[in-house]
Symmetry: C2
Subunit: 200 residues, 2 copies
């Protein structure tokens, strides 16, 4: 029975052949860039949001007045720190161990959910700020605080780009983890093959 | 070099040995249950939210007055339908093909993000309804519409349980997909072994 490694393939479309080291190196480069990109985007989103306050005749409005925007700032801060840390870990070539693969997998998933949650809650707030809600007597705020709303929208957009990057990173860390495991055998031609091999 | 299948393991802790068929069957059972559970939870969350309206001296409030709750209802509806459909597909034993594994993986991920987004936006709305926001002159609404807020909270809680189920389902479908691929080779003792084997 042929070994999986010899005629195998990677989901990134790089055939596993003798220049495997290249495939692995290029994948590590992609992963490192995919971790540095959200780091810079998180910092940008964080700065835009932190500097976001507006004072006019109607009063003053700052990001810290809204719980969702405070959460966005914290989530972006955590995400920037995590991205930097993991980019450093990812750039150094070293044996990929099982605990390391599990740690990356779980943390990448959690970060994806955290940053998606931050983007979603902030989108809801900015939606309410633009549209208001007559039934609950929440007035729209962006007529008076247009500048504030524009900057908040920019920060939220950056956060969604970070979410996309993290969805890709989750894919990569899933691949790194689960490609170490055997596929479940069930009613496939391969199973019959394995059974025959173990008997023969 | 030993084949991965012979001394392999599955992430669910079931050793791949001769009773592999059992391991695979039990995993399929777990997957089917994990798809039927969110289906019933989604329907429950959907019914609780759809029936959620309150009329009193202050006026009347219905779930359809708030965009986030409408999104929650739609997301739960889509999720219930998808869960039922995939539970039926998952329960039937058949060869697991690559396109099928990719479809399950991508759709499970997308559904996880959709349902998490619905939960997050609704949480923000219910938070604002309970607390209000003085800076944006949004008054709290749950003082007048306590019953409405309680039912909405129940529906949102169910939605987060669905999110947890879907996080587990994403894990299972990632395993099913990526365990079919070879691990990336990089600076591991295994790589040297492979190189030696291909030269020898």
């Amino acid at each position: 029975m042929a070994d999986k490694r010899e005629n195998g393939r990677s989901p990134m479309g790089i055939e596993n052949s003798e220049d495997d080291e290249f495939g692995s190196t290029s994948m590590r480069t992609v992963e490192t860039l995919l971790r540095l990109l959200p780091m810079s985007l998180c910092i940008a989103a964080l700065i835009v949001m932190i500097k976001n306050s507006q004072t006019n005749d109607f009063g003053s409005l700052s990001y810290s007045d809204l719980g969702a925007f405070r959460y966005l700032v914290h989530a972006n801060g955590i995400c920037a720190g995590y991205s930097l840390l993991t980019a450093i870990v990812a750039v150094v070539p070293r044996p990929s161990s099982m605990p390391r693969a599990w740690t990356f997998f779980i943390l990448d998933q959690v970060l994806t959910y955290i940053i998606l949650g931050a983007g979603a809650t902030s989108t809801e707030v900015i939606y309410l700020a633009y549209k208001g809600d007559a039934a609950v007597t929440w007035s729209q705020a962006c007529g008076s605080f247009g500048g504030f709303c524009h900057k908040a929208t920019a920060s939220i957009t950056l956060t969604f780009v970070v979410t996309l990057c993290y969805a890709c990173l989750s894919l990569i860390s899933s691949y790194r983890l689960f490609s170490k495991y055997d596929p479940p055998l069930s009613y496939t031609p391969k199973q019959t093959e394995t059974a025959a091999a173990s008997q023969g």
